[in-house]
């Protein structure tokens, strides 16, 4: 599925990702109010991955309804990513997404570079559990919680989400990082720091999924650096039941979904696997 934040601010972009073979779409993280995000530069390609600080730009939940409604007849699930600072806002956003026809919601408890939001919510186990259970009490669609690797113990956070009755854990969001221009001594991102993604963070994501999946009884969706079919296999073996792709849309173009799907099938055929379920958690030995 398409990871949140990539080609998903309007219905047209998401339609293109659907046409390119994504199995599900996670929308841009949407908040109560419109938000412009940070000034540029917002995205850099470094030697081994992408560094971004978009700053949660989005048109706000009311205007985003138009985009969601255009995709209501979509053949694949559209999962609404939402961000907020407290339980009441998360609930309001989740209800709107449900009303717009979202197949599920993904709570952004992990954006590493927006004050009061994301990671600031996602490293407080008590707050996170309250938020998840409040949302679960109000909506009927599945609730995913996307976690950050920028915490001391990601397993504790995942368990708090599980206690709040989350339906799945999504791991991982980007890894905090920065890039300084040597000639001017300026941090290049306008926000100074950002989140690192792409191949470079795959081992971090695989480790997180491996640890989480063995300590919770709900599915884990793997994300972080998946660029090829073999990357997906690795996440499945670590315990992921599904995977998301973001940065690889840059590295391999929008057709990355078709490529990964094909590579995954070839790998499974040559290694005698018939179902992804046979791969899930294969590394626990």
């Amino acid at each position: 599925m398409l990871a949140s934040g990539i080609m998903d601010e309007d219905a047209g972009s998401m339609q293109r990702m659907i046409d390119c073979g994504a199995g599900a779409i996670v929308t841009k993280s949407i908040g109560i109010q419109p938000r412009e995000g940070y000034a540029n530069p917002t995205v850099l390609e470094l030697e081994y991955g992408l560094l971004n600080a978009m700053g949660l730009p989005n048109p706000g939940i009311d205007e985003y309804g138009e985009e969601m409604k255009k995709l209501q007849k979509s053949a694949i699930p559209i999962i609404g990513s939402i961000y907020a600072a407290d339980a009441a806002e998360f609930v309001a956003l989740a209800l709107k997404m449900e009303q717009y026809g979202a197949a599920g919601v993904e709570l952004n408890a992990s954006c590493p570079h927006a004050k009061r939001y994301g990671l600031e919510v996602g490293c407080d186990t008590t707050l996170l559990q309250t938020i998840v259970s409040s949302v679960k009490d109000q909506v009927h669609i599945p609730v995913f919680v996307k976690l950050s690797p920028n915490v001391v113990n990601i397993v504790e956070i995942a368990q708090a989400a599980e206690k709040g009755n989350a339906d799945a854990i999504v791991a991982i969001n980007t890894v905090k990082g920065m890039k300084i221009d040597l000639e001017t001594a300026h941090p290049i991102l306008a926000n100074r720091t950002g989140g690192y993604s792409g191949k470079a963070i795959k081992p971090i994501g695989v480790r997180c999924v491996f640890d989480i999946a063995q300590n919770v009884n709900i599915p884990v969706i793997g994300v972080g650096g998946i660029t090829t079919g073999e990357d997906a296999v690795e996440y499945f073996m670590a315990g992921a039941s599904a995977v998301q792709i973001g940065s690889a849309v840059y590295y391999r173009g929008p057709d990355v979904f078709k490529h990964v799907y094909k590579e995954l099938n070839v790998w499974m055929d040559t290694h005698g696997y018939k179902k992804i379920a046979e791969l899930v958690g294969a590394a626990y030995q």
Binding site: E9, D10, P34, G37, N40, P41, K179, D181
Partner: protein, 259 residues
């Protein structure tokens, strides 16, 4: 790596009261119609189409209109700026007699394309549309390279009184034009597209841009067409299917703003 390269501002030339052209050292090949991301450290980074190009030097032309262009407008030669690119696809010049239609500062990015066409000895007619004659620039530059230049002003202070699209329509009826290239206000370009009918048409689109490398979705039009990677030049066939063309753009938050 896709990060700004620091370079030195070499020249800053006043074109009109609020339009300037800056040049900087930036080696490498660029196609007319492509753009750079220009970084003013501590201020912003914005997309700008190339308006001057030689082997080692490149230049962009802009109106002093926002924070970034305001900062650039007041930078003196010798200042450091960051440049990355070129990005996007560029124009494809086809045919024997080409019509270029530029509205406002849109005319600036057509200049390398016109010069390119003239180098290939292609007959080139340029229609420049501005509000009033004081906003006119690059007229001499087009004449120098051997293009026919026609001017329209909204207030009639010079040349044809009215819109550039009306003047361009006249050219289309009188002359045998093989292809039309345009950059300017989108409603103008949309009018031009419908006047072109079967004549090949290419337009340069301007959208709020963030990542510039095709992933953030900010600049997308139609069914996920990324102005930064799939554009900024789109042909008429594609634009006919883009519902936002000439109708709305999206601001930094992704809210739709009508033209």
């Amino acid at each position: 790596m896709n990060i700004p390269t620091i370079t030195t501002l070499l020249t800053s030339t006043t074109e009109t009261v609020d339009v300037k052209t800056i040049t900087f050292r930036y080696p490498g090949a660029v196609l007319p119609g492509q753009f750079f991301m220009i970084w003013i450290p501590g201020v912003d980074e914005i997309p700008m189409s190339v308006s001057e190009m030689s082997k080692k030097l490149k230049g962009v032309t802009f109106r002093n209109i926002g924070d970034a262009t305001h900062a650039l407008y007041h930078l003196s030669p010798g200042s450091k700026i960051g440049v990355r690119g070129p990005y996007g696809n560029g124009f494809t010049l086809t045919g024997k007699h080409l019509l270029f239609v530029g509205g406002g500062t849109g005319v600036a990015m057509l200049a390398p394309a016109v010069e390119h066409a003239r180098k290939r000895k292609l007959k080139s007619t340029v229609v420049i549309g501005v509000k009033t004659k004081n906003e006119l620039f690059f007229e001499d530059r087009f004449r120098r390279c051997g293009a026919t230049v026609l001017v329209s002003t909204d207030d009639g202070s010079k040349g044809h009184k009215g819109f550039a699209s009306d003047l361009a329509k006249e050219v289309l009826t009188k002359e045998s034009i093989d292809a039309v290239y345009t950059c300017g206000p989108e409603p103008m370009m949309k009018t031009l597209l419908s006047a072109c009918r079967t004549i090949p048409f290419q337009a340069s689109l301007d959208r709020y841009m963030k990542c510039s490398i095709g992933i953030c979705g900010q600049c997308c039009v139609g069914t996920g067409l990324r102005v930064c990677v799939d554009g900024p030049i789109f042909d008429g066939k594609t634009l006919q299917k883009v519902e936002d063309f000439g109708v709305y753009r999206r601001d930094a938050a992704g809210r739709k703003i009508s033209f």
